[in-house]
Symmetry: C2
Subunit: 610 residues, 2 copies
């Protein structure tokens, strides 16, 4: 069933007005009103109210890039809309079961999906945080974040260009009214709490904003496993055992955990004074010392590393420590890619199509290997803190969020097995729909908003258009209800086009069998698949058995599953799962905005028996 | 006229011998003999004499990657050999004249050439100087040089694996007998001396070996104009005027030159004490202070920068210094690409086909934008020091090479116009055939040889095979004569397979209307076209008018010619030319090796009237 999308295809044929004059607004840049259609690049001409649209590469032409070329018109007419794709891949379970099991069919579908996803947004990216216009230096200096859309011009009538109020809503008020959780709302898809912790640990290898200059990142903008092995080669050396290709570990309660700070001189962890000496672990990323779930994933990968290193050492008795280590690291990188796509991204996507990490599917085509760059927008919309419950229920104990900060006891007291099982059986919060962020995490929302305003991100509706969907016309349409819609409308002066990216993405109504709204899902899919599928490890030169220490190592990579690794590295083979089928309630789920007059800040302990 | 290449197509169907046992050589790695055909990757199995060939991506299979797949066989059978391509593009002048003037034909040919060149060697590169096997760290850490072929395994019977003598020839002896010039041999193609100076200035933005660890580079491995603008942003700021988007300059003898060191605090130039204070220029690259020709090219680009900045400032009165500067820099980058391909690479290629820099030809295809990495082999075979004459003849004066080191008087005393004309009218030395390197430059050859041995480059004949040509069978076949052949044979123990890359490339007999032998030309073409054509500036996101400050700026880029820039930035509009037609002697040129008994070191002044 194919639904051609004639109504919403982006061909806007306007009587072109190249020169907009507006006597009473002669002060500001005419580009503030985004006069160039279809994301043509707008440039002001001198101090005048004239502008020029650079339509190159948009598939449109005309003074305002308003007329589609025939080629573009045919392409857009034939290309299914995001709605069609989402509809098709989240329905027809039986059909997809067949596709998943007929390898040539499945490979064909995967190839099509990847070719589209991985080349959107186009690369190399021209927009970044170095400047509002194209510079070589912004491209060249990889410490700048990319931007999917260029910043709103400076000195516009309003922060969103010309839409909305002259001043964006007060962040405090916004956070209180839109984000603060009054009552825990569980994820209707039965997403387990372990899922967002996986996302957190995986994404933080790349989301590394320099706090003194938030346009920049201190990471490498790629999946580099720096959260496990450290940022620099000298950090890596400090964390390595330098024997048998292994990583340093320590035994606590009879189990292996990451090493103590004292045994890894040179590793800077920045523990606050309250952290007791015995809990000062040395980890690849200082932030990972903050939460037991992050220590959990560090432990998970370090144990897997050492397990694989033993296999490599046995397989290659003539290899030295260095070669065993380097090859094992490549195997861990391959495994990471595989389980991230096949378990984590699969769950987030909510598709019946089984996503696979098979980079060989792209080996016969030109593909942007090794071209990843992190976009501010990607980092922003990955702020899924609404999914964090108010309490962590580990074993038989409840820990408030505040109790878990810099406190590893929830993991160490119960052990890896109990932690796995508990986190796999506790429901995460509902991501979409707003008003579900634990008070302890509200600072994250404040911070994201401040950051987005600093770099002058365009409005949510502009990104929605970028993702080939019509802009929302009303707040009700955005949220799918009326109470939150009213609150937002008040905050944004009644102008839906002024809603900020972060706010829009996280309040948008949840879309069929997804954890979030369709805009977030559409936009994030490209960023995530690019970050995984453009990694050099999948390229024809790397994705071959000699890279992974021969057939044995390559098999470890190709057969890796999240559950399998958990079972092998955690005593007792606990069942790690990202979804709790018996807790799926989405058939019943209707997005509800808590009465904002309820009084803020009173959050009730999560009911485990929900 | 199409010459199918059936005889030399690389399909070697051997009775496969997967397991080589050799009782008396049980000590060393069986991979020393390169048993894997067609550049499959060889890995030793344990401490045994067994090995495994990873044939993935080679198009061959079998225990030793010896059998071609049907697809590969058809492809290789249809694909013209390097000889055919070189023959076709250097003959049939009239035919190419037509092609050059029929744009759709010309574009088709350029597209085909680029698609083949720019994807060879395949990227991302798996081999580099970080380790002898694939590592993530070697890929990830861009300070390591790439390697086209992996290093010769350690502890082999001979430095070339199993070929040749147990010890490579003494470097001193090699340099004396093979490289030292006894008599200046002019370039038979009439190449002007200004040509190698252009090559030198252009390549040194990328060839930046860290002398304390020669596996690494302190450059960015891309065309980044760091030789003009400095390595870091702070260097760039120190060199900028910070007014009107311009670069600092100073007036000497009524002409503009790069600024004095004193006016650019922070720029480290490392002048030796002998350099007089007034000659201490601040340049983007410390090395550029060493030779007047490098100062010439710095001046050339800085003047062009300031000329363009003025145009941008006039075109965009509302732009600040920063934006004028950044956009002008992009224009200069675009111009550099254009003139490098269309004048410099064109001349080196010796083709009748007019090479063009038109990245838009690749905009409808997936292309490895922004994926350049410098190979040790590229840097090595670009050591064209044989082209440097013994004397620089500027105006009415002869300067010995030693007189030009750190001495800018040859440029400043005569001025830019005279320098341009003199360097455009003095013949460069012949690159190919050996025995033509000025004594003052022999250290460069010594150094290249030491470096290549340090990183254990494979032999010249292996690279020849990599470039799809049969390995040479004799020294006579390599040099095209007998005297030098005998010398080389003595040095390399009579084994042609032991000849080092650098030596083989530079002694190979000159190929029809080229400056060098066919192997060098074949191999270097891919590296150079990749470095230029993979640069982000040509990508669809950058190669558009808004990047270059609108139509005016884009036109400057698209209409740039070497002669045009010289005429605009140098008073008197001197004629800059890379070839001196009246001095072409190649019809008469027969490679001659000087009698090595002549006695070394006596070089006679170059005859200008040659």
């Amino acid at each position: 069933m194919f639904l051609p999308r004639l109504t919403d295809c982006a061909i806007i044929i306007l009587t072109s007005i190249a020169i907009t004059r507006s006597e009473d607004q002669s002060e500001y840049d005419p580009c503030c009103s985004f006069p160039c259609q279809n994301f043509g690049i707008c440039n002001r001409i001198g101090f005048t109210q004239r502008y020029h649209c650079d339509c190159y590469g948009t598939g449109f032409y005309g003074d305002n890039c308003e007329t589609a070329t025939w080629r573009k018109w045919i392409y857009e007419t034939l290309r299914p809309s995001p709605f069609t794709v989402q509809y098709l891949t989240t329905h027809f379970k039986l059909f997809w079961k067949v596709v998943n099991n007929v390898s040539f069919l499945h490979e064909w579908v995967m190839r099509v999906i990847l070719k589209i996803r991985v080349t959107t947004p186009p690369w190399p990216e021209a927009h970044n945080t170095a400047a509002d216009y194209t510079t070589f230096h912004g491209y060249h200096n990889k410490s700048y974040y990319s931007l999917t859309l260029p910043a709103v011009p400076k000195n516009c009538p309003t922060p969103m260009g010309v839409a909305g109020p002259a001043k964006l809503p007060d962040i405090e008020e916004l956070v209180e009214k839109v984000f603060r959780r009054t009552q825990f709302k569980p994820c209707p898809r039965g997403t387990a709490f372990i899922t967002p912790t996986y996302g957190q640990h995986f994404t933080h290898q790349g989301f590394k904003t320099v706090m003194s200059d938030r346009r920049t990142t201190w990471g490498t903008q790629t999946v580099d496993l720096s959260h496990v092995y450290g940022k620099t080669e000298s950090d890596e050396r400090a964390l390595r055992l330098l024997k048998g290709g292994k990583m340093k570990m320590q035994i606590i309660n009879g189990e292996e955990y990451p090493p103590h700070e004292d045994h890894c001189p040179g590793i800077k962890m920045n523990y606050p004074p309250i952290v007791r000496k015995e809990f000062r672990f040395a980890l690849g990323h200082p932030f990972f010392a903050m939460l037991p779930a992050l220590l959990y994933w560090s432990t998970f990968w370090l144990r897997e590393h050492n397990r694989v290193a033993d296999i490599m050492a046995e397989e290659h008795p003539h290899w030295d420590d260095e070669r065993i280590f380097q090859t094992t690291k490549l195997i861990i990188l391959g495994e990471t890619m595989k389980v991230t796509v096949e378990t984590y991204v699969q769950h987030v996507s909510g598709m019946h199509l089984q996503l696979t990490y098979q980079p060989e599917l792209l080996h016969d085509s030109s593909h942007p290997w090794s071209s990843n760059r992190i976009h501010v927008e990607f980092n922003t919309i990955y702020h899924w803190h609404s999914m964090v419950p108010d309490y962590l229920h580990i074993g038989d104990k409840n820990y408030t969020l505040n109790e878990t900060y810099f406190n590893m006891k929830p993991l160490l007291d119960h052990g890896m097995k109990t932690f796995t099982e508990s986190a796999s059986n506790q429901l995460a919060g509902r991501g979409a729909g707003g008003r579900n962020m634990a008070p302890a995490l509200l600072n994250v929302a404040r911070d994201a908003l401040r950051w987005n305003r600093q770099v002058r991100l365009q409005s949510f509706n502009r990104y929605r258009q970028y993702a080939r969907m019509s802009p929302y016309k009303s707040f009700e349409e955005l949220t799918g209800e009326s109470k939150l819609a009213r609150v937002l409308s008040d905050l944004y002066g009644g102008d839906i086009d002024a809603v900020e990216l972060y706010v829009g993405m996280l309040v948008e109504q949840r879309y069929r069998s997804k954890m979030f709204g369709i805009t977030l899902i559409e936009v994030i899919a490209s960023y995530s698949l690019r970050s995984v599928y453009a990694n050099a490890i999948g390229s024809p030169q790397y994705w071959r058995e000699s890279t992974f220490g021969g057939e044995v190592g390559f098999d470890i990579v190709k057969s890796a599953t999240m559950e399998g690794i958990a079972c092998r590295v955690i005593k007792g083979c606990p069942k790690l799962r990202f979804q709790i089928p018996e807790k799926i309630t989405e058939a019943r789920d209707r997005m509800q905005y808590d009465d904002i007059d309820d009084g803020a800040g009173t959050s009730s302990p999560q009911r485990d028996e929900l």
